[in-house]
Amino acid sequence: MSDKPLFTYDYYEPGKVYGVTEFTVDETVVAKWRSVYPGDNDPGVMPAGMLAMIIVGAVLTCNAPRPPGGVHGGQTFDVRRMPRIGETLLTEVKCLDKEIKKERKWVRALTTTRSKDTGEIVLTGIMTTLVAQ
């Protein structure tokens, strides 16, 4: 068992940064993606569906451990430019806000993804999650 605190609703602090993850858009991971989506085969281009993978992967890594069974309720993607195959990205995860609506506990995470080489922002996102009770 992990000694780290569990990311329950009460544990999230709006404004707090929970970490930064690194993700390299290498040919191996793109090939895995294409095994699920064979149509996403534009040469040299990262499939846009993988943007969600970058954001969700960063949130799941930085906000762990979590109670099992949370549900993804909504997502915003603001693409400044599509990541390139071969590029390494750094994604910061921050708690944007949280609220209880009709006894459901919602948390929004703001993600900012930058090129590791240049620091240029390539993507921001807001992931809305219904936190498991």
């Binding site: 149509g39 281009v45 846009a48 992967g57 069974g69 949370g70 997502q75 915003t76 993607f77």
Partner: protein, 124 residues
């Protein structure tokens, strides 16, 4: 701008959900553990929401070209779960009176929206 996005579809079976979990490293038990999911408020396995979002990206790319993806602001809500053996289709229509905003959606085989949202294209 095209008035209608070219739709993109896929069938979702349990194996494809497991494959998606493997690619994305998202093994939330509501997606991969039938026993857990059955006892959860979802009442059974649901596909990852982002598995269907990929269909909206495909519809945008297939209609507007890959370069257009560099200037998209996409905002979506997951409004209904996708279940094993559903067939889902992503598409959209240019909003009435708008030149750069599409109402986008993913629908199941019953014609029910599972995702709703908007895709806004910034000027090139």
């Amino acid at each position: 701008m095209e008035k209608t996005l070219k739709p993109s579809s896929r069938q979702v079976d349990f194996q494809s959900i497991l494959n998606y979990a493997d690619v994305t490293n998202d093994y939330n038990p509501v997606h991969v553990d039938k026993e857990f999911a059955a006892k959860s408020p979802m009442g059974g396995i649901i596909a990852h929401g982002t598995m269907s979002v990929a269909l909206i990206w495909q519809a945008l790319k297939n209609t507007l070209g890959v370069a257009a993806l560099n200037r998209v602001h996409l905002e979506i809500r997951f409004v209904r779960p996708v279940r094993i053996d559903d067939t889902v289709t992503g598409g959209g229509e240019l909003q009435a009176g708008a030149s750069n905003v599409y109402d986008v959606w993913v629908r199941n085989q019953k014609g029910e929206d599972v995702i709703r949202g908007t895709a806004t294209l910034r000027a090139a």
